[in-house]
């Protein structure tokens, strides 16, 4: 302000205080970049009713500071769900509610990572997790995958190589179900061998199962957590996909010794109890019915994307048909550069993320992830065609 010197904080910052994210980007007309769920099947009426019921019954509990581990009734609901759907042998005592699975992932990464520690991941992985791993200076090493999941021989070879180099591997992070961005679901056989290999190297498995409810084809495969009796598996899940990302509700299940450390990285006290009450009351009555409805809507969008991909990219790209989840992983010929034109494509109305953003080594400019959850089937269909036009215009693919 006029006549006064501005105060400067520059010399006061902590040494380990990086500059964080403040603003979000503008959304393009056809937004295939972010894995948002379907806005038309959000349970808005159900949540409003549930909020009223829960407030009438338990509202006065809000006058207390929430339990750090989260609302007990929601922890019970989550434990029941994981026992039923994922064959896990747990109780509510094992569950901590977090602000989306993103908070759980961050808490676990902070608990286990000193700068330079190696973590193992699939060769491409959810960029939010990759960003958190880098934030805490992990050395992220990707392992090659095929359509069944991470390749055991590649994992074993990577671990042996790292051992030979004297490097300290802290954990193996995997998204075994509808892997993001790759789309496959790891087979039972691969899950068992991953557990065995990691176990023999004394490395815990960090299982991120946040897409598991969005299955509209194929068969469920049991959780890695359910295959382990030793306490070697950390499990995180989320309601972002079946309630809404804005509801910020996720959870973690981990051995108590780890949970106790992770809790020291939980910000802002217990997870929002107002939201937790509404979500618990809603899910208690309508969870599976809602999931069915949502998946019926998603499959139509997936099909719209597959149809338009066939028409527009049949000669230029390859993809697998996803049996669930929110995205298709496109592979263009080696040498295609989808990274260079990505920003321009956003500006011209079509958003996508290219492979380099999901790769620990920054590889994969010839891959793109297209998410179909949010736009209407018509917009999905149109948008994929529009993407082809954008890529042609910029000479990335031939018309």
């Amino acid at each position: 302000m006029a006549g006064t010197d501005r105060f400067s904080f520059e010399k006061l910052f902590a040494k380990n205080a990086p500059v964080g994210a403040k603003t979000s980007f503008r959304r393009p007309k056809y937004d295939f970049a972010v894995a948002y769920p379907d806005p038309d099947t959000l349970p808005l009426e159900g949540l409003a009713n549930a909020m009223r019921t829960a407030l009438e019954r338990d509202g006065k509990e809000l006058s207390y500071y929430p339990d750090y581990v989260g609302l007990l009734s929601l922890r019970e609901l989550i434990a029941d769900k994981l026992v039923r759907d994922r064959n896990m042998k747990i109780t509510a005592e094992d569950v901590v509610i977090t602000s989306g699975s993103g908070e759980a992932i961050s808490m676990i990464i902070q608990s286990l990572t000193d700068p330079g520690d190696v973590v193992i991941t699939e060769e491409f992985l959810y960029l939010g997790t990759l960003r958190q791993m880098r934030r805490y200076s992990a050395d992220v090493v990707g392992v090659k995958c095929d359509d069944d999941g991470m390749i055991p021989e590649e994992l074993e070879a990577t671990l042996n190589r790292l051992k030979g180099e004297g490097k300290r591997v802290k954990y193996l992070y995997t998204i075994p179900t509808f892997q993001n961005p790759l789309g496959w679901t790891m087979t039972l056989k691969r899950r068992k061998s991953m557990l065995e290999i990691a176990g023999s190297h004394g490395i815990p498995i960090f299982e991120d199962d946040c897409y598991v409810d969005l299955r509209f084809g194929g068969e469920d495969v049991t959780s890695i957590h359910s295959l382990d009796d030793s306490g070697q598996v950390i499990y995180v899940g989320s309601f972002s996909k079946i309630i809404a990302p804005g509801a910020r509700m996720g959870y973690m299940v981990a051995p108590e010794e780890l949970t106790l450390r992770a809790m020291s990285f939980k910000g802002g006290g217990g997870t929002n109890q107002l939201a937790a009450m509404a979500i618990e009351e809603y899910l208690k009555h309508e969870m599976y019915q809602h999931i069915d409805e949502q998946n019926r809507s998603l499959i139509v969008k997936r099909d719209a994307m597959l149809a338009s991909l066939g028409e527009n990219f049949g000669d230029t790209a390859k993809w697998a048909i996803p049996q669930g989840g929110l995205c298709v992983w496109l592979e263009f010929p080696e040498g295609t550069d989808l990274a260079a034109v990505q920003e321009q494509s956003f500006a011209e109305g079509v958003g996508y993320y290219n492979g380099t953003q999901f790769s620990p080594e920054g590889r994969g400019a010839n891959f793109a992830r297209l998410c179909y959850g949010h736009p209407s089937p018509e917009m999905v269909y149109e948008g994929v065609s529009e993407l082809a036009r954008v890529l042609e215009r910029h000479g990335v693919i031939k018309p």
Copy 2:
């Protein structure tokens, strides 16, 4: 489990991963320990209605990940409120929404604290903040206060002494309005001189104003933030007291260079948008009416406490009459030990926190903070009498 070795995480933990809080304690019959608000004036009906209205209007927005800085309409409401009530010269752009003010406080402390850095506080302060400062290994130095706030001569002397010792002071944390636990409101004169002294030493002021709305007597004093044109003041506030602690909704206002750092310590993405939508819609229409109603209820509870204190502690303790906030600060004669019997008192049904818990130096066993916000007036009245019986029974005070 039988036949298998348990996996151990012990050797995998990050060096700076302390063991965090997992469980909360059992609440005593008469709970004067925690500054909970009045459960009977929580706006439950209003929040349920607001949730429905907001979901009907904006619900589909929940399908996106929330903006990291929080819901724009709530940021606007907060900015308007701070301009109107606290004379601050800000806009929504300056506001970041956090999961309670606790998250804001933690983010700011992390941004500004390297282990061993000195931070200045009032001689007794909110124990949640003190805990966070210690968590990041700050060297917390308390400055003597009287009924007008921190004593300027003491502040000046402390800063000069620390300067002489070559110590690095990072910020001055203050709760200027209804100081927790001391109860006073800092006078305008003191605010100005604090700003001047801190400014001349190049030290920012961290103003925690989370009790400001709970005024039922005396006159408002303008915010320290409003007295500064240089960008030297960080401000945090909360809806925990006027909506509910379980709603986990607070905010910070800071110069952008600091906010950008602080954002890197924000866990779990943007603050819960489902809760933010309900709170914004509710406050937009009923904020001041609700605050009035709440304060009319609180004054009755305060009066019940003062009456019972007079009857039960008139000869043994001293206290000031709070004009707002949620607690009375009791001073017993030097040598009285309220720390030794505190746990026993909880077990026998009367909860309070003794002074040592609020003191950077662990002083003040002859002080106790009694919160009157949560119990009914009858329970407040009874409970203070019961506290006297407990203290007599254990020989802390004479019958």
